[in-house]
């Protein structure tokens, strides 16, 4: 089993109700497994906000040990590279660019 | 010898006033003095209407009416053709303002700042104006003398509508473009021999 420190920042904090928690998961868990576990805890709204068509939505920025999840495998990213793993989930608001 | 001149491409000028502002900030002119205005003229009737944008400045004439009219010899012509006013000699008759066919001469009755009344620090440092005298475009002679052979209005033009150079050098860009586009001065009938040519 591995310890996973999860930090919620931005808009997702209201859904999670907390800014930080620790989750224990099987050793070979991926980011997808972690998000499924969190959805089970916080309900479908959690997944609706984070995922789009089964992948990380543009505006859901997830970092695993300081690296962008999308650049280290996205949903299949491993969580066991550092113990305890630190996963930061930042849900950005809508875009603010151009007119 | 050198005779500085400018070619203004009326096909390219879009009337954005960048030259007017570049000139004003480069030469620190007081409130109300614009050496390099851009005039507008509507041509044709609806719907075949066009808007002509016509930049103007001092034409640094060969036979300068302002120089001729000035009783105090405050206006002189450099060997490179640039016509300058010396505000320490001008006695403010304004004969030059009346004589200039191109509206290039400005008589400054009071030196005012852009915010009205008292000058702000920037203006105190950059204004070079004496009340009761006249002032006008100098082809940015101070830049030419410092080796920057491009007046502020030319450098800043976003559509490359202003070309500056030596009229007496047939190989210069300005000479070539005047020949190829058969550039001609404004109001040739005034007979002042301007150094500024318009490309229509």
């Amino acid at each position: 089993m591995i310890q996973c420190k999860v930090i919620f920042a931005g808009l997702i904090k209201r859904v999670a109700g907390t800014s930080e928690m620790t989750v224990t998961l099987p050793a070979d868990s991926t980011l997808g497994d972690l998000l499924a576990d969190l959805t089970a805890r916080f309900g479908q709204e959690f997944e609706d906000k984070i995922l789009l068509n089964g992948d990380l939505a543009n505006h859901a920025v997830v970092m695993i040990d300081g690296e962008y999840a999308r650049e280290v495998g996205g949903m299949q990213a491993r969580l066991d590279r550092q113990t305890p793993a630190q996963v930061e989930i930042v849900l950005l608001g809508p875009p603010l660019l151009g007119g | 010898m050198t005779r500085w001149g400018m070619a203004l491409d009326l096909e390219r000028c879009v009337g954005c006033y960048a030259c007017s502002m570049a000139c004003k900030t480069e030469n620190g002119t007081p409130d109300g003095v614009w050496y390099s205005p851009v005039y507008e003229k509507e041509v044709g009737t609806y719907p075949n209407t066009k808007r002509m944008f016509i930049p103007t400045l001092c034409m640094h004439c060969e036979d300068a009416p302002c120089l001729n009219a000035c009783p105090t010899k405050a206006i002189t012509k450099r060997t490179d053709g640039i016509v300058l006013v010396d505000q320490t000699k001008c006695c403010g008759t304004r004969a030059c303002v009346a004589a200039c066919p191109y509206g290039a001469m400005n008589y400054v009755h009071e030196v005012q700042g852009a915010f009205g009344g008292e000058l702000i620090q920037l203006e105190k440092q950059s204004f070079k104006s004496t009340a009761g005298t006249v002032q006008k475009c100098t082809f940015c002679s101070h830049r030419i003398d410092a080796g920057k052979f491009e007046p502020a209005c030319v450098e800043v033009c976003p559509t490359k509508a202003r070309i500056f150079g030596d009229l007496e050098d047939p190989g210069s860009e300005i000479s070539r473009v005047i020949r190829s586009r058969n550039g001609s001065p404004a109001r040739p009938e005034a007979g002042t021999g301007p150094s500024v040519y318009y490309l229509r």
Partner: protein
């Protein structure tokens, strides 16, 4: 002026590079500082995006920084009453008191509901910090003011459709005939104003034909080969007639492009939906020769059928191009002529000229690849966007380019911010491209499809699944939020730079909306209309006083495809300090985040919003200075060795010229773009479902797969005697409302002698007994009356009257600007029935009646 004497005894005489802020293009400039006083602004020869040139606004920036009318110190409001022209009764307080008050109000709002905090800015370079602040407090509410109400609604969603980038512009290097609707790009206006102006004039002198369609003889039309005056809001009909001429009459359009790069071959049923593969759910196409039915990505694209009928699982289907072509049928040149007032012969002639210039089928070799070469392109901007059917007209403009095959290919309309080394070509499940560039990565384009959900944002953005923004809806969210299901009211508005009160629709409506906001903080350089509503007014630094990293980003806003030079990174560095107590609003937000106890989240949000990676990321448990953050952001984005020190020393960094494959990505990214807007259908259904469930009247008729012309609301509603339109026109020497604070720019506006007058067609004026220079009345159906001096002109449509720029100010630092000129926005009916329910554009058609005063 005396002959320049050498400067004797000079202590300091330096040129300091920075980035201009007098519009949103961020040109690289250098400021001449002598003995601590900034005396001149100039461009830097050869350095992009302006290559040494600077416009009148940039050159006059010193008059803004040195203006004695600036906000000098933090002030709190003592007069609780708020209203247009109501004196707030400012009382000066210390920065400490101000920030404490700010933090207290912020925390109270966060405790109530974090979403009740609205952050506003139009400061393009530090958007990300405002975005991060809003994310840190836990609110989705960020807004921008007028640009999102009038300009981009018919452009940005279409730019994403065509090129998966936020902006588009035309490749003037190869284009031979540019047809421009409602814009003055290339005439010191719009994006990349300076660089594009040189390109435009070079192209025109190379022989490129320019045709401009606009009710007013604007700056572009003045030089165009042909100006086509048009009734406002009717551009869509002109576009449809051109398409009909190409597709039905000439049967000459880029069939190969449609097959390879669009969904014209996707099979659709009678209900307009794609026929999909039973298991993979992929849209199906039919092979023309054999009639075989295959998923789109398994069939050789150029063999897929564009026409014909087929059957899938017993259901009759046709390629999407069939209903697209059919819907063009009614739009004959005569029909469009009645709507647009453009002679039918002109419509057909222009269609032929553009088609011929496009030279469909031509190719060109660039850097080892063979690209389609198109000689014609269609460009558009605010003129067609500020209308009731902005989305429809915008899509039609995009479709004109698609039919010519002129999208992201040499000579066509190009992406201007998606491609470049940071592009990650993403395809949605149906094969359509969407942005992978992290800067645009968090965008919300129409594809991949977005669900409609109960609104959580004050701009009700959730009800606009195919738009990118919904700025114009802010007033509706503020005033009638609960009707739309918003579970909160707006408690705090954090307003940083941008005059939303004056630049939105009519100020009375915005005033009612602002009345509902509990506490307003305005961080502003001038006491403008919006600042008058603040409860707390904080002195913002002018751009020549502040440090701002990454102003110019070559992967954004400019596509250096057609420019010999490369793109340029630049930044703003402090040149002078004029207002002692002024502070950089981004820095203020960091401080307030700390005082409100959300600094860890602010740092995480900044990392996410600015896409800061690796060692440069802000740690959650640390407080960083603005300078440190700026250095980290710069290094993370541009590359480790190019931090603030590099920029302080060199001022800018030239990016190498963009490769052809990034400039012209259509043949490389392998994705498709939707000609047939099938995704609009379900979006419309979803919006209708939600609005019906809340009993809200919401017109979803524009959610169609093919776009039709419909008149604007004002056209339908206005009584007969309101027989004319008031149109607005941008000026190359004025931008936003802060340029009215600049006495030199105002002086230019007065001498221009058209700005503060009302332009009216000479023939029309004579008919109405109005002579040049007479005072005349303009009156709207809603009873608003404005007076001004008539200026007779041949350069405007006979049914139109022009009030250019953004004037008629009610509050400004420069008293000379107050009450001078017409405030166009004030006459725009800011009601829901005047707004595009698909793109959230506000219809700026103002029907008026004119009379001699």
């Amino acid at each position: 002026m005396a002959v320049a004497l050498p400067m004797a005894g000079v202590k300091e005489d330096v040129w300091i590079p920075t980035a201009c802020d007098m519009c949103y293009n961020g040109c690289t400039v250098q400021v001449h500082r002598v003995d601590g006083v900034a005396v001149k602004v100039e461009g830097i020869p050869g350095v992009g995006p302006n290559y040494g040139m600077t416009c009148a606004k940039g050159l006059s920036a010193l008059m803004n920084v040195y203006s004695p009318n600036r906000v000098q110190a933090p002030m709190v409001r003592t007069n609780p009453a708020k209203g247009i022209g109501v004196d707030p009764g400012w009382k000066e307080v210390s920065w400490d008191e101000a920030l404490d008050l700010f933090a207290v109000k912020l925390k109270a709002a966060m405790d109530k509901d974090p979403r009740s905090i609205l952050t506003h800015t139009f400061d393009r370079y530090t958007y990300a910090v405002a975005k991060a602040f809003s994310t840190a407090v836990g609110s989705p509410n960020v807004t921008m003011g007028s640009a999102g109400i009038f300009c981009g609604n018919g452009t940005h969603p279409v730019a994403f459709t065509l090129t998966a980038s936020n902006e588009i512009h035309d490749d003037l290097k190869y284009c031979n005939h540019l047809l421009m609707f409602g814009a003055s790009a290339g005439f010191v206006g719009g994006h990349n104003a300076m660089g594009y102006s040189v390109e435009m004039q070079d192209a025109r002198q190379r022989g490129m034909k320019l045709t401009v369609v606009d009710p007013v003889l604007n700056y572009a039309a003045s030089h165009a080969d042909e100006w086509i005056p048009i009734r406002p809001g009717t551009d869509g009909a002109f576009a449809l007639a051109m398409m009909r001429e190409w597709v039905i009459v000439q049967d000459s359009y880029d069939k190969t492009f449609l097959k390879l790069h669009t969904n014209a071959t996707y099979l659709v049923g009678a209900d307009g939906r794609y026929a999909r593969h039973a298991t993979s759910n992929k849209p199906l196409v039919a092979i023309a020769a054999t009639g075989a039915i295959l998923p789109y990505d398994e069939a050789p694209s150029d063999e897929a059928a564009l026409e014909g009928t087929f059957t899938v699982d017993g259901v009759e289907v046709t390629p999407a191009f069939v209903p697209f072509k059919a819907h063009l049928e009614p739009y004959t040149a005569q029909f469009a002529s009645k709507i647009t007032s453009i002679p039918a012969a002109t419509i057909t002639r222009v269609a032929h000229e553009v088609l011929e210039a496009a030279s469909i089928g031509q190719t060109i070799q660039l850097e080892g690849d063979t690209y389609p070469l198109r000689g014609a392109a269609i460009s558009w901007y605010r003129g067609i966007s500020a209308h009731r059917h902005a989305m429809a007209t915008g899509q039609l403009m995009g479709q004109l380019n698609m039919l010519l095959g002129a999208v992201d290919v040499p000579g066509g309309v190009l992406n201007s911010s998606s491609m470049g080394p940071t592009w990650r070509p993403n395809l949605d499940p149906d094969g359509f491209i969407y942005p992978g560039n992290p800067l645009a990565g968090h965008m919300k384009p129409a594809l991949p499809r977005r669900k409609v959900s109960a609104p959580e944002t004050l701009e009700l953005q959730e009800l606009f699944p195919v738009s990118v923004y919904a700025r114009a809806m802010l007033w509706l969210g503020l005033l009638e939020g609960e009707k739309f299901g918003l579970p909160y009211k707006c408690e705090v508005l954090v307003q940083c730079r941008g005059n939303v009160m004056q630049t939105s629709g009519d100020p009375e409506t915005m005033a009612k909306a602002f009345q509902t906001i509990g506490f307003i903080v305005s961080i502003n350089t001038f006491p403008d209309e919006t600042a008058q509503w603040a409860d707390l007014l904080l002195p913002d630094m002018h751009s020549l006083e502040r440090l701002t990293p990454l102003v110019g980003n070559p992967n954004n806003f400019t596509n250096s495809a057609s420019v010999e030079e490369s793109g340029t990174w630049n930044f703003q560095q402090p040149i002078v300090k004029v207002v002692e107590k002024a502070r950089n609003w981004g820095e203020v937000l960091f401080d307030v985040a700390e005082r409100a106890g959300i600094l860890p989240d602010m740092n995480s949000a900044v990392n996410a919003a600015c896409h800061i990676t690796g060692e440069y990321q802000l740690r959650r448990d640390q407080k960083y200075t603005w300078e440190d953050f700026a250095d980290r952001w710069t290094k993370s984005t541009v590359g480790g060795e190019h931090g603030l020190d590099y920029f302080r020393e060199h001022g800018y960094l030239k990016e190498d010229k963009r490769l052809a494959k990034y400039a012209y990505p259509m043949i490389h990214h392998g994705g498709r773009i939707p000609l047939y807007l099938e995704h609009f259908l379900d979006a419309g259904v979803a919006v209708k479902e939600y609005t019906d469930s809340r009993g809200i009247e919401w017109d979803t008729s524009d959610y169609a797969a093919v776009m039709d012309y419909q008149p604007c609301t004002t056209e339908k509603q206005a009584p007969a005697q309101f027989d004319m339109w008031l149109v607005n026109q941008k000026l190359p020497f004025m931008a936003g409302t802060y340029s009215a604070e600049n006495p030199l720019l105002m002086d230019l506006a007065k001498r221009n002698s058209k700005v503060f007058n009302i332009g009216i067609n000479r023939a029309t004026a004579l008919k109405k007994g109005i002579a040049d220079g007479d005072e005349m009345w303009i009156e709207t159906p809603a009873g608003k009356k404005v007076k001004g001096l008539a200026r007779l002109t041949e350069g405007i449509h006979p049914e139109c009257v022009s009030a250019p720029g953004m004037f008629g100010r009610t509050s400004a630092g420069n008293k000379d600007a107050v009450g001078r000129g017409v405030h166009f926005n004030n006459l725009v009916a800011f009601t829901l029935d005047h707004m595009d329910p698909v793109s959230a554009a506000l219809d700026s058609c103002v029907k008026i009646k004119v009379s001699k005063a």
